[in-house]
Point group: C2
Chain length 213, copies 2
């Protein structure tokens, strides 16, 4: 098995969610064609994506919904729980805490940090907000989420690295520098707005492209 592309991983997430849906509809089997239809991609793409990890289907029948769901769960690493440290208890941070979907997928926010003295000591969603200064000495988190203003993002990233996280999810619109070997994902809403703006500005109006829609 060679290197898996980011696009494939994103699609696996999609498949996983579609499988949840069809499972709750009571379907037992699903074809690559149907999986693709819900996603707006080709059935060949679905089969190719899955083939990187094994042969999960049965010719003539399709994929067993429950079985494929379990397989993808394992592939995505959702068959275990992840300890998440959240830095930044502002709007975005609160939104993440409030969204129960993450807990269901195995992401447990076990600590919340902030630099605002007014927020430190308060309770958010059952967790006491700690000072970021205390982050340095801590250990035991798998993933750090940065939901702070832009200006402190790099500093917080460094602190998270020092605290031994292996992956960072960054909501600040800046490319962070972190050591090689650690995983970094950035969610940049500004960029999404700009991408929309570009699409709407183009002469002849928006055109659909492939890629992450």
């Amino acid at each position: 098995m060679s290197r898996i592309s980011e696009s494939t991983v994103r699609r696996l997430s999609h498949y996983y969610r579609v499988l949840d849906e069809v499972a709750s509809e009571g379907k037992r089997m699903i074809s690559s064609h149907l999986l693709a239809e819900r996603e707006g991609i080709t059935s060949a793409q679905v089969r190719k994506d899955l083939s990187y990890f094994g042969s999960f289907g049965r010719r003539g029948l399709g994929y067993n919904v429950e079985h494929l769901r379990t397989e993808i769960r394992g592939i995505l690493g959702l068959d275990r729980r992840w300890r998440v440290a959240l830095v930044g208890a502002g709007h975005i941070g609160s939104a993440l805490l409030a969204y129960r979907g993450f807990v269901e997928q195995g992401f447990d926010v076990v600590a919340v940090y902030d630099s605002d003295p007014a927020r430190i000591g308060t309770t958010v969603d059952g967790l006491v907000v700690q000072s970021v200064a205390e982050l340095a000495g801590t250990q035991g988190y798998d993933i750090g989420v940065i939901a702070t203003p832009l200006r402190s993002a790099q500093e917080v990233a460094d602190a998270l690295v020092a605290a031994g996280v292996r992956g960072i999810l960054n909501f600040a619109p800046r490319k962070l520098k972190i050591p090689a070997g650690l995983a970094l994902r950035t969610v940049d809403m500004t960029m999404e707005f700009e991408s929309l703006s570009f699409a709407l500005s183009k002469p002849g109006g928006p055109r659909r492209r492939r890629g992450r829609e």
Copy 2:
């Protein structure tokens, strides 16, 4: 000029932000090499991206920071203002409203809708929250933002389409069906978490890939 890839547009956003930075540092010129360095990509990529839109640099000198900034502004459609309707005044919706960066880039949230009777009529960030029912008859928005729970996302998308928006930014973790010719971008935080989870689960730990980091 052929079709511009989504990756190129994303990088333009990045360049734009880097240009802001170097402008505030007082630099007048910047080379593709320096632009690339801050981005973690190659200088050839920078030049190629820009060459899709014209020749903005001067050989031997590099790019004039202010000039390139203005050009990219135009390319991304940030030299005008966009009227944005926000649906969903929950955590994410409030976070968007609170973030002044969008206004600076030309995105004016001119209306807020919600379906929760408890929220309708209240004021958020200077805007009175209206009932989603009122959305149907309205016109005049360029972009609709969906920050509602998953279950109502498609319904809201339909209402936004009926209200004549040309682009939709969706924060619900589901692929929405909208008519061809409209632009859609989805920000799926669940997917980012799962992508991290995948990276951390891989034998040998996380490996960096190109693409949107």
